[in-house]
């Protein structure tokens, strides 16, 4: 009798809505950059899933510091040298063949766009020292540390990757480096501008003066977008003057917005030190010897537009 009554009731209702939306659910909701893809309060989007802010893994680079000027190493110039970098953060380092658990994973270290080392042990809650090798050359160098889940998926949130631009110098040569965008950064096709952040050492930025006299370690920066910088320096087909904008004072080194356009694909972003009269800035670190060693100062990163 009771079974029949229950059957009648089930047939009469056919079911009902029994689940309540729980905004505290972690790792359940999908998310995206779209307006409708936002996460509940207290959560952030990681790998297209909303995760609790307090549980999102992070990584930071302690050494070298941002724009740090490191002296040339003991090895010969151009040879490989070892640099012990320090890392910290909240990612739980686990062996790469472990289960994929949010918040756990390993670190992939890249130096000057080359894979360097994988870190899957230790505790980032304290400082982890990692030796990396790089060319012992004067100029800007880049270290990137990316946290990766054990299924091979990189953590794609902002704190999941740490980058560091630093310099190795001889103590006299001017230095130029692009801090942002980072090499390999992807932009959507519909993006009409990007922000550029640069750093210079031992070079004084002054406004351009086409009639001015070039001065030592003084001038401005030309920014080229999607140009073959070698052709531009050689002024092939007037490329030399096809720069987008200039950086003429230090406060422009921060976020400088430049317009971009074009089709999908990889394109270069190039910065070049220029004299006050727009001529190419050159520097000879050993002016007293008989060897002509005039150096130009160019930094270039490859970006991707999709």
């Amino acid at each position: 009798m009771m079974r029949r009554l229950a059957a009648v009731l089930v047939a009469l209702t056919g079911g009902c809505f029994t689940t309540d939306l729980d905004p505290t659910q972690v790792g359940a909701f999908a998310c995206s950059e779209d307006p409708g893809g936002a996460c509940p309060d207290g959560q952030s989007c990681v790998n297209a899933r909303c995760e609790a802010d307090g549980e999102i893994p992070t990584v930071q680079i302690g050494f070298p510091e941002d724009e740090q000027d490191l002296p040339l190493g003991d090895t010969a110039v151009g040879d490989r040298r070892t640099l012990e970098i320090t890392l910290s953060g909240t990612l739980a380092l686990t062996p790469r063949d472990g289960d994929d658990v949010f918040g756990e994973g390993h670190l992939e270290v890249t130096v000057d766009d080359e894979p360097s080392i994988t870190v899957d042990s230790g505790s980032l809650s304290s400082i982890v020292t990692v030796p990396v090798t790089l060319d012992n050359t004067v100029g800007a160098h880049r270290i990137s540390v990316r946290s990766v889940r054990n299924d091979g998926t990189p953590y794609d949130h902002e704190g999941g990757v740490a980058t560091r631009l630093f310099f190795i110098s001889d103590g006299q040569t001017p230095l130029l480096g692009i801090k942002s965008p980072w090499p390999g950064t992807e932009f959507p096709l519909e993006a009409t501008s990007i922000e550029v952040e640069a750093a210079v050492l031992r070079f004084t930025l002054i406004p351009a003066d086409p009639g001015g006299m070039p001065q030592p370690k003084t001038g401005h920066i030309h920014i080229y977008y999607d140009k073959d910088i070698e052709d531009c320096i050689a002024d092939v087909e007037g490329c030399d003057k096809q720069y987008l904008t200039t950086i003429v004072q230090p406060d422009q080194l921060g976020k400088l917005t430049i317009p971009v356009a074009g089709s999908a694909g990889e394109f270069p972003l190039s910065l070049v030190l220029r004299n006050v009269d727009h001529s190419l800035f050159e520097f000879d670190p050993n002016p007293d010897d008989d060897i002509e060693e005039a150096q130009t100062f160019i930094d270039e990163v490859a970006l991707v537009r999709r």
Partner: protein, 307 residues
């Protein structure tokens, strides 16, 4: 002429009290019984008393039964007591009680005079046949009936009454009021309408309940899959919120539809019940009735009838 119990022609004469002045009557008491109770001299003196007024009298003296003298004293006393009770009851026009006591007295003492009084009671009770029988017994058993002619005349009138009754057609029962109209069978439209409304209500309730319920359950399952099943469709928090909103809207619709359909079905059931009740009533010819009541917030049935 009023029919009055014959007063005995012997003393003491139990006069009936409470009668209007000018209409006294006497009931007859057996003289032999009185003789036993009072003694012969008293009985003789009582027998010489003149009759009261124009009341019919019985001048003959009942013959004392052979064993009257040997009657049990208790029976004699009980017979006189019954006679007095009967006389009082007759005086109060309680003829049924008087008859009962006269019959009791007759069983205690077999006297023709009691049969005469019994006949009077039957006559008052409109039982002519029994009255005739009692009077005839009186005439047959009474020696020297001085008022034979009167008694025979009374018997003749009673027989005429019997004949008149026999010739009358059977009396029709008098109704209390106007005859009720012949009940019409109004149940069929109600039964059809009730069944149809019940079916519509059930269809609405079931359709709404099942359809909207299943839809709501799907939303519930989808939301459950988002939160507990790994979110296979990669729904965002906004999508999940829309799922919840849709599910709750469907659930509300389900509740409303089931409630409305249920109410309609109940109304249909009420009509059906009324129709079936009236059908049964029409067949049984009873006055009981079920009447549906429809209000803004309630539907019900009223039961009425005669008890």
């Amino acid at each position: 002429m009023p029919t009055v119990p014959r007063s005995p022609d012997v003393t003491p004469t139990p006069r009936m009290t409470g009668r209007p002045a000018g209409s006294p009557f006497r009931v007859r008491v057996p003289a032999a019984l009185l003789a036993v109770l009072l003694g012969v001299s008293d009985l003789a003196r009582a027998a010489e008393d003149p009759p009261a007024g124009d009341l019919p009298t019985v001048n003959d003296e009942p013959e004392a039964p052979p064993d009257a003298a040997s009657m049990d004293a208790d029976d004699r006393q009980r017979a006189m007591d019954a006679f007095h009770r009967a006389s009082d009851s007759y005086n109060r026009a309680d003829y049924q009680a008087a008859l009962s006591d006269f019959l009791e007295a007759a069983t205690l003492y077999a006297s023709p005079d009691f049969q005469y009084n019994i006949g009077l009671c039957y006559e008052k009770l409109n039982k002519p046949e029994e009255a005739i029988a009692a009077f005839q017994t009186y005439l047959k058993t009474k020696r020297d009936v001085p008022d034979r002619a009167n008694v025979e005349d009374r018997i003749a009138r009673l027989r005429e009454e019997l004949e008149r009754r026999a010739n009358e057609p059977a009396a029709k029962p008098i109704p209390d009021g106007p005859p009720p109209p012949a009940p019409r069978d109004r149940s069929k439209p109600l039964v059809i309408a009730g069944a149809a409304i019940t079916a519509v209500g059930a269809a609405v309730a079931l359709g709404g309940g099942i359809g909207l319920g299943l839809a709501a359950k799907r939303r519930s399952d989808d939301l459950d899959a988002v939160q507990s099943g790994g979110n296979p469709d990669d729904l965002t928090f906004g999508d999940a919120g829309e799922l919840e909103d849709e599910g709750k809207r469907l659930e509300l619709g389900q509740i409303v539809t089931v409630a409305v359909g249920g109410a309609i079905a109940l109304a249909g059931v009420a009509l059906l019940a009324v129709g079936l009740s009236r059908r049964k009533q029409a067949k049984a010819g009873r006055a009981a009735a079920l009447t549906p009541n429809f209000g803004r917030s309630a539907v019900g049935l009223s039961f009425s009838g005669r008890f």
